[in-house]
């Protein structure tokens, strides 16, 4: 598990004296579940996990809690992969990060192992047609590149520059672990304009898009187009 070290990042301003970024810890689990769910919604009211795996929100929260407790690195459902942005001592934002494939297995397969382990055979069988369709929007993460996922700031704490601070700290920490990492990548739904603008401001540019007109797919996702954004690292 990550240590409890907190860092202040970015220039000090009169309104940011109580803002800090720190590694997530086990006691942040409920906030991280909120962050994952809100990031999944991508500005909509749809949670793809629920539709794909036939789960209601309470069941999904329980599943995420079980997966987070395992704390397997190298994918986005991992407590020690998160940095937390705090305002006045309370979690206000979060983002997960990892170096793709650093553990010898792609994040896709690590997450598949977790889902296969925690979901029953019936739900996995029911998810199969959805997962087949999802392949239409699949964007490959580059091995060795820093991945940023589940990026979220509570609505009442937006405008403080928290996203930039959390991502800067994620990149700093992951570059220390993998000095050869040359780029950072973010995958998101195209309709999430607020997030898209924020990442552009932070130096990310869209490098790939995958689009689908499949109505069965767009019925379970917040949008019809997935995009990959990248930023070259110094």
């Amino acid at each position: 598990m990550a240590d409890d070290r907190a860092v202040r990042v970015g220039p000090a301003r009169a309104d940011d004296r109580a803002v800090r970024v720190r590694p997530a810890r086990a006691s942040d689990r409920e906030f991280l579940i909120e962050a994952i769910l809100e990031a999944e919604k991508s500005g909509s009211d749809r949670i793809p996990y629920c539709a794909i795996f036939s789960l209601d929100e309470a069941e999904l929260r329980a599943l995420l809690a079980s997966i987070l407790d395992e704390d397997f690195t190298g994918q986005e459902l991992c407590i020690s992969g998160f940095q937390i942005g705090e305002v006045e001592g309370k979690p206000a934002g979060a983002a997960c990060g990892w170096v793709e494939g650093s553990g010898g297995m792609s994040s896709t397969l690590v997450k598949a192992n977790l889902l296969q382990h925690f979901l029953d055979a019936e739900r996995l069988a029911a998810a199969r047609p959805h997962l087949e369709r999802l392949a239409q929007l699949s964007l490959e993460r580059e091995p060795g590149a820093i991945q940023l996922e589940s990026i979220y700031v509570r609505p009442d704490q937006r405008g403080l520059g928290l996203t930039g601070r959390i991502l800067a700290e994620q990149i700093r920490v992951l570059q220390a672990e993998a000095p050869g990492a040359e780029k950072a990548q973010i995958i998101l739904m195209k309709g999430n304009d607020r997030a898209l603008r924020a990442y552009r401001k932070l130096g990310f540019a869209v490098t790939r898009e995958r689009h689908s007109e499949d109505p069965a797919l767009t019925a379970i996702l917040p949008g019809a187009t997935k995009i990959l954004m990248e930023r070259t690292l110094c």
Partner: protein, 80 residues
């Protein structure tokens, strides 16, 4: 079961999972070597292996499967 017997059974499971009767595997085969090895086929593969050999892998075991040889050895341990 011997490791050869396990590898032969795995070959049939791979051919069925990836819907490719011509697929060949060895102990060194990894996900990168097999066309179509994505999250869905991975879930199907692990489920099929567990069902066929009547084993339930621990998460810590699955996460260490770097190649088919690791999978074979783990099955051998469970079925010994």
């Amino acid at each position: 079961m011997t490791r050869d017997e396990i590898m032969n059974a795995l070959l049939e499971i791979f051919r069925e999972t990836f819907d490719d009767g011509g697929i060949e595997i060895s102990r060194e085969t990894t996900a990168d070597d097999v066309d179509g090895w994505d999250s869905l086929t991975h879930i199907q593969l692990v489920s099929a292996v567990e069902g066929h050999f009547e084993v339930r892998f621990k998460l810590q075991e699955i996460m260490k499967f770097n190649d088919v040889g690791d999978l074979c050895d783990c099955i051998a341990k469970h079925t010994a």
